[in-house]
């Protein structure tokens, strides 16, 4: 008889009755080399989601709340393949954070991210040393190409 387990139903039921359980969707893309990332965002929701998304691709990810904390982390010697920085942080803003990180010689890929896309913000972020600037949410469509690039 078995309940029809919809692949959209959460609950991690993949271990149980597999009727209709589309595992092909679950074939997760994963990074080839050891990649690390830092998420800089003053919002808990965004930190949690961006961190989980990156980790789901095998990227070792940390998250901090402020630009200052990010700068301190890197100043202490931590290196990251990818750094995602929110535009409007609580104290030092995104571009200023990127500027300071670049000034320390970090070669990381820096992705500026924001709730409201704005061309002036984009210019400011890119001028500060960011490689790219996107509007939230962070999606697989954005992340996967970046990971591919970093892997090669």
């Amino acid at each position: 008889m078995g309940a029809a387990v919809d692949h959209v139903t959460p609950m991690g039921m993949s271990g149980g009755s597999a009727e209709g359980n589309d595992k092909s969707e679950g074939q997760r893309f994963s990074c080839k080399s050891k990649l690390t990332a830092l998420v800089v965002d003053n919002g808990g929701v965004c930190r949690a989601i961006q961190t989980a998304l990156l980790r789901s691709y095998g990227v070792e990810t940390e998250a901090v709340e402020t630009g200052e904390a990010a700068v301190e982390l890197i100043a202490s010697g931590a290196t990251f393949s990818l750094i995602i920085i929110e535009m409007l942080l609580s104290f030092m803003n995104g571009p200023e954070t990127a500027k300071q990180i670049r000034a320390m010689g970090a070669q990381s890929k820096i992705l500026g991210i924001t709730a409201f896309f704005d061309e002036r913000d984009q210019q400011e972020f890119l001028a500060a040393g960011a490689d790219n600037f996107i509007e939230k949410p962070l999606s697989p469509e954005i992340v996967i190409p970046i990971i591919n690039e970093l892997d090669n």
Partner: protein, 146 residues
């Protein structure tokens, strides 16, 4: 139809309803994909953070709008964060209201901001109720497995 099947159908129907009514968009499905055996409560945890943060942000917005001299940049900063978090969990209606709210901040229109905040609070509370119902169904499903 056994209890489990019934509950799962209710869950599917409720999720479909939330999508159809625009409470949630595709991004919510992205969140569900991040839930697995290693993080079986991921969605509920993130939504819980969203509830806490949202309530703080809404109160901060209200406080900022009550000041004798309103700092619209400050209000905008809260709206910015709210739009970011709602977009990230797929809360479409809330997100769209944030877009509207931002326009009022830019126009520095106090009356419109106050009105928009009221709509935002309302929309947020609707979403909260809907999601809490969804999670209740999930709890019942889990209990039915045991």
């Amino acid at each position: 139809m056994d209890v489990m099947t019934q509950l799962q159908r209710q869950w599917r129907e409720h999720t479909a309803y939330l999508r159809k009514e625009g409470y949630l968009d595709d991004q919510f499905e992205q969140l569900q994909k991040l839930q697995d055996e290693n993080s079986p409560d991921f969605v509920a945890e993130v939504v819980s953070i969203f509830f806490d943060d949202s309530e703080k942000l809404l109160n901060n917005m209200a406080g900022a709008l009550e000041q004798k001299v309103v700092d619209f940049k400050q209000v905008d900063a809260h709206v910015h964060q709210f739009k970011g978090s709602s977009a990230s969990i797929g809360a479409m209606r809330v997100k769209n209201l944030c877009i509207e709210f931002r326009n009022h901040c830019e126009a520095q229109s106090l009356e419109e901001c106050v009105r928009c905040l009221r709509k935002l609070r309302y929309e947020y509370s609707l979403l909260k109720n809907q999601l809490e119902y969804l999670f209740k169904l999930e709890q019942q499903i889990r209990a039915a497995v045991v």
